[in-house]
């Protein structure tokens, strides 16, 4: 070893011996601010490092203004505003002009705000500013680009179940905010179809006006010089009316639930669990931020340290109590873990959530957590642009410009007691909604320890499921009356309808024939089925909503799922429909041809839409279809019931042969041997 090396080794210091020189100062640039008569507020920061100018308009608008039946309107408007060009320059010409100059202009409208941006080489600024103003003021919204945006949106909808993570976040938000909430609702094929050009023009017109605009500019310019150019250009924008950022309330009820989405092409579960969170104006905000960082903060938070590094259960695990600027955030924790370790991971996370409440953090852990925050503060302002962006976001949210500085002070004052106190006040580990997206076959019964599992159907509603085209209600009623007369030639039914049948079911092992005797009373909502199965006789009884099953002298309650299915079949029975036709919302949508035969299509609109195809001569329901979730297939299927060989007995018509199909695949066939009313 040479002498010089010894000296070098001597100069080396281990991490805990290093003394740091003071940090170089960062002079936060002053922001030049001014306002035009039309209400536009400007924020300017010079930055001459690169020969570029970046401009961003933040607009008070958003998806929160869009009604549910037009979900997606904000997204389509934001997209077509740019792609459709203006009344002076077509979208194609604009694309060429900008790309030839390596310039960018983009527009978008999110849930809580809209934006328009321009990024240009500084020498092109004067040339392109008028075009940007034109885009803000006079977007053309041509039909062909509207259609393009809608096609694209629908394509994205069709692909939304391919990514486990996306499914998990989406369905979890629905659990927290409600499926119909503006904060969680889906954009569907039908809602995209509902969007008209008029809607788009309206949303743009009321949004992109001076009263709603903040304009930020950062780049290589002289403030004094550019100010006049901006004033001249942006004065053209009409003042319009100010949109208030008023967001719908969230009406949350704490509940413990366990929910499951079955996805058969994965070998890993994505788990989300949590409940509603809070808002930014909570006086405990700083304490909550510290609690969040104890729980999850890169590799140093408890979740990563324990669930990932020590237990090896996950690559990705995270959590936080969210505080929204405009509406309550969510408290959530999440993990992606092998199917086999799903329950173990849920319990490991739960333990960490409870631990926040049950024990105080050590002073050391608190100090480390606060140090991580304070020492990384310098990255909050790692560019001149970041100063501008922070100020604009605070102003947009209506927060004080010194909010962040105050937060820093408050965080320094947080104590170990504070952390435990906010954990106890705001976290509810007893009332977590748990969502698992994963492979049902691999997960097995792991989830049952968390309660009765609610299976979520994520199949994508096709546009015809929610067809908005109204049929003819009057004609619908007439057809139903005709059907009732045909089904019940005696005019009604008094007593029990009893029939005996052979039910041939297709199973993976082949055909199986079950003998069936059913007694239905339509006055009392009573249903008794006696099934002769290979394992013996089973009696299923449903009276006044109470279901039970009897077999070999044993009696047990009917599982909820099965009860639901039996009741659904009862409500679809042609006799039930005939008797209760007055209360049904029926629409005649026209004559339709199926397999070469013509039928009258009557749609019964209910929770699940039922389609009756009536024989135009006899008015009997020859075909019935509806869509439902099939847990075995893990998706929605179209069920079709074909009824033939109608036979009358005791004033009631029964189809002596009926065949049912699931997605055109034959599932079962029922042959009735006799029926009577007693």
């Amino acid at each position: 070893m040479s002498l010089s090396f010894i000296q070098i080794a001597d100069a080396q210091r281990s991490w805990d011996e290093i003394e740091y020189p003071p940090l170089n100062s960062f002079d936060r640039p002053d922001i030049e601010m001014f306002e035009l008569d039309n209400g536009i507020k400007f924020y300017l920061v010079e930055d001459d490092e690169l020969p570029l100018i970046n401009l961003r308009v933040q607009v008070r608008t958003g998806g929160f203004l869009v009604p549910n039946e037009k979900a997606g309107l904000n997204s389509v408007t934001g997209t077509v505003m740019r792609t459709g060009g203006t009344t002076s320059i077509s979208g194609d010409d604009l694309n060429e002009l900008l790309e030839d100059l390596a310039a960018r202009m983009e527009t978008s409208i999110g849930l809580t705000s809209g934006s328009a941006t321009m990024s240009v080489l500084k020498d092109d600024f004067d040339e392109l500013l008028p075009i940007f103003i034109d885009l803000l003021k006079n977007p053309a919204f041509p039909e062909n680009r509207i259609n393009l945006a809608k096609t694209q949106l629908k394509s994205s909808i069709s692909r939304r179940n391919d990514d486990t993570f996306q499914v998990g976040i989406r369905e979890f938000q629905k659990l927290i905010y409600g499926a119909e909430s503006v904060y969680a609702r889906n954009t569907e094929y039908a809602t995209v179809d509902n969007i008209t050009r008029e809607d788009i023009v309206d949303l743009h017109e009321k949004s992109f006006v001076g009263q709603n605009m903040m304009v930020g500019l950062v780049g290589d310019f002289d403030t004094h010089e550019i100010k006049q150019k901006l004033i001249d250009a942006f004065s053209e924008i009409p003042a319009g009316e100010r949109i208030e950022l008023e967001f719908p309330e969230v009406d949350y009820e704490f509940a413990h639930t366990i929910n499951f989405v079955d996805k058969r092409d994965v070998n890993q579960s994505f788990v989300m669990m949590g409940h509603i969170g809070g808002t930014r104006d909570n006086p405990d905000y700083a304490k909550i931020q510290v609690m969040n960082r104890v729980l999850s903060d890169g590799f140093s938070g408890r979740l990563m340290r324990i669930v990932r590094s020590q237990m090896g259960l996950a690559y990705s695990v995270f959590g936080q109590y969210g505080s929204g600027n405009f509406f309550p955030g969510m408290f959530y924790t999440g993990v992606r873990t092998a199917s086999e370790t799903t329950a173990e991971s849920i319990n490991a996370i739960l333990e960490q959530v409870r631990r926040l409440q049950d024990e105080m953090v050590s002073q050391q852990e608190l100090n480390d957590t606060i140090d991580r925050f304070l020492n990384s503060l310098v990255f909050e302002y790692d560019s001149r642009a970041s100063v501008l962006n922070e100020r604009m976001s605070l102003d947009y949210a209506g927060l004080d410009p010194d909010s962040f500085d105050r937060l820093v002070e408050e965080i320094q004052a947080v104590t170990v007691e504070d952390v435990q106190e906010v954990a106890q006040r705001y976290l509810r580990p007893d009332a977590l909604q748990i969502l698992v997206v994963g492979h049902g076959g691999e997960i097995g019964d792991q989830l049952e320890q968390f309660g009765e599992v609610n299976e979520i159907d994520i199949s994508i509603p096709e546009p015809d499921d929610e067809e908005e085209v109204a049929g003819d209600a009057e004609a619908g009623r007439e057809w139903l009356d005709r059907m009732a007369a045909a089904v019940l030639p005696g005019g009604g039914i008094s007593g029990d309808l009893i029939f005996e049948a052979d039910n041939t079911v297709q199973t993976p092992q082949g055909e199986m024939v079950l003998g069936l005797k059913q007694t239905i009373n339509f006055d009392e909502e009573k249903l008794i089925s006696v099934v002769n199965a290979p394992m013996g006789e089973i009696t299923m009884e449903l009276v006044d909503g109470e279901g039970k099953m009897m077999m070999g002298g044993n009696e047990m309650p009917m599982p909820a799922e099965q009860k639901e299915q039996v009741m659904a079949e009862y409500y679809r029975n042609h006799v039930y429909l005939s008797l209760n036709r007055e209360g049904l919302q029926a629409e005649f949508t026209g004559m339709e041809e199926i397999d070469g035969e013509t039928y009258a299509h009557v749609r019964i609109v209910d929770e699940i839409t039922l389609n009756l195809y009536l024989d135009p001569d006899t008015a009997l329901p020859a075909i019935t279809t509806y869509r439902q979730f099939d847990p075995q297939q893990g998706e929605r299927v179209t069920v079709k019931l074909v009824s033939e060989e109608w036979t009358e007995q005791d004033g009631v018509m029964m189809p002596y042969k009926s065949t049912s199909y699931s997605n055109d695949k034959k599932v079962s066939e029922t042959t009735v041997k006799s029926h009577s009313v007693e």
Binding site: N24, D93, E99, D100, S158, S309, Q310, G312, S383
Partner: protein
């Protein structure tokens, strides 16, 4: 306001002259802020002084990746990358000497278990015994661990963005610190690469298995990519799984991983880049102090396999529940080949931006695709690799239809259909994206270290733009004719099991 083509062309000509000036100034101005030095032991450093804010980004680039893995140990480059975060002999442990004992015994037991497991007739009792030993030593070793202490030390000092990436061609390790804490990086970085400890090795392999499940097994794109490469490459290691085949992950031990590290992590394979508000002289001094004493005794091996020519088109179909995806790839060249700039520009003209040929036709005008993207240099660029195309068809559009349309666009290029305006636009945008990338400490540090580490001169970040300038329309036509041909092609598809018309016949 009306826009004719004329003023647009006028602007274009002005612009063609303008950026050249701006950029050449840029390289000169930029170079003024760059300090470069190589220590006597061969370790190379690039320091860029950028005083915008009191922060700095640190990148350790290692010219070693998935291609360098020994057979039977795919994923080992990535496993080692994870181990570097476990600390050193002094960071992350309460007693290294004792911990090391148990780590060694644990690995020994694991190797014994592995050997038994893969015998033709494994002895179940022995396996169980080895496994029990393994579990016991693992438990003992874990008692000394201060979990994630490495991260805690730097995070407490304000570090952000701590991470690493393993690619086929390279591995890099990076984070940012407040500028006054550069010495902490020197101290910890030299320590963790001199003293890798393979702590929590088997727990971490479980973490990596989860990473594989997220990124490959449970992700349609991940599944398609892995399958695609394994079919497109017969001999070259670009065809192997980067994160590792599951059985290889199981079969990889601490001993294997240490061998890999010792073989490949040689001084000449390291390049360091620091960008931010730092004093270059001080950085040099610290480099001498902390890295000057690291010697390496041998040269790392390099990949010598050359992918043989294809004997015909290769096609495969994955049938699953996902919506359809199309992936095409043509064997091309590496980033040092003279055709590289033309291939990159061709890709840009075909699919970058709203004026690109494939976007305009397939996405916008014919509404056939949700997205189409081409790229060259997949899955790496150090060795001859692939020119690829991904396409997501819109609902109701068959993959065959999209595939045909893409081939038609390739044919047009071969017929010389690309205009000078399109070529100029692609070059202008390459320039502009270089400028736009210069204001990020981390982005710059990563790119400079990588270019230096792989191609020997960071200046190529700038001079490459001049090479683009020399590409002609004839070059574009020629590379299309030469490379975008059926005999060089692999076609992979995901088709939806529920759709009946998607499984296509070979073309």
């Amino acid at each position: 306001m009306k826009f004719s083509k004329k003023p647009v062309l006028g602007i274009l000509i002005a612009l063609l002259l303008l950026p050249v000036a701006i950029f050449s100034q840029n390289l000169e101005a930029f170079e003024e802020n760059v300090t470069e030095f190589t220590l006597d032991n061969g370790l190379h450093f690039i320091i860029v002084e950028r005083t915008v804010a009191p922060v700095a980004s640190f990148v350790t680039f290692v010219n070693v990746g998935g291609v360098d893995e020994p057979a039977g140990h795919t994923g080992i480059a990535h496993i080692f990358e994870h181990m570097v975060f476990k600390g050193s002999k002094t960071v992350g442990t309460t007693n290294w000497e004792e911990e090391q004992e148990y780590i060694d015994r644990m690995d020994e037991a694991y190797r014994a278990w592995l050997n038994e497991k893969y015998r033709p007739q494994p002895d179940e009792d022995k396996m169980e015994q080895h496994w029990e030993d393994f579990e016991r030593y693992k438990e003992k070793a874990s008692e000394y661990v201060v979990t994630n202490e490495f991260d805690e030390i730097i995070s407490r000092e304000g570090a952000t963005g701590l991470n690493a990436r393993t690619g086929y061609d390279f591995t890099d390790y990076f984070y940012s610190l407040p500028q006054n804490k550069a010495e902490l990086w020197f101290s910890l970085e030299s320590d963790r690469f001199q003293n890798p400890v393979f702590r929590e090795f088997y727990e971490e392999k479980d973490v990596i298995r989860e990473e594989r499940r997220s990124g490959v097994d449970s992700d349609p794109f991940g599944r398609l990519r892995e399958e695609f490469l394994s079919i497109a490459f017969t001999a070259h290691p670009y065809g192997r799984s980067l994160i590792g085949w599951p059985s290889d992950i199981t079969a990889t031990t601490i001993e294997d991983t240490r061998n890999f590290f010792e073989t490949y992590y040689t001084n000449e394979n390291f390049t360091f880049a620091i960008v931010g508000d730092v004093d270059p002289d001080e950085m040099r001094e610290l480099a001498e102090i902390y890295f000057g004493g690291i010697e390496s005794t041998h040269e790392a091996p390099t990949v010598k396999t050359i992918e043989p020519g294809q004997r015909g088109e290769r096609r495969f179909v994955i049938e699953e529940e996902t919506q359809p995806i199309l992936m095409l790839g043509y064997h091309t060249e590496s980033q040092t080949h003279e055709d590289w700039p033309a291939l990159e520009l061709l890709s840009s003209i075909l699919s970058d931006g709203r004026t690109s040929r494939m976007y305009r036709r397939l996405v916008q005008d014919e509404e056939k695709a949700l997205a189409v993207q081409t790229a060259t240099g997949f899955p790496g660029s150090k060795y001859p690799s692939l020119f690829i195309t991904f396409a997501l068809p819109n609902q109701g559009i068959g993959l065959d239809e999209i595939e045909e349309a893409i081939y038609e666009e390739f044919e047009k290029v071969k017929e010389g259909d690309i205009t000078q305006q399109e070529l100029d636009r692609a070059i202008t945008n390459a320039r502009a994206s270089l400028v736009r990338s210069l204001n990020s400490n981390m982005g710059l540090a990563m790119r400079l270290a990588r270019i230096q580490g792989q191609q020997g001169d960071w200046r190529r970040l700038f001079t490459y733009i001049d090479e683009l300038q020399n590409v002609t329309l004839e070059d574009l036509q020629r590379v299309a004719e030469q490379y975008l041909v059926k005999e060089r092609r692999t076609v992979g598809k995901i088709v939806n099991v529920d759709a009946d018309d998607e499984v296509s016949e070979a073309h």
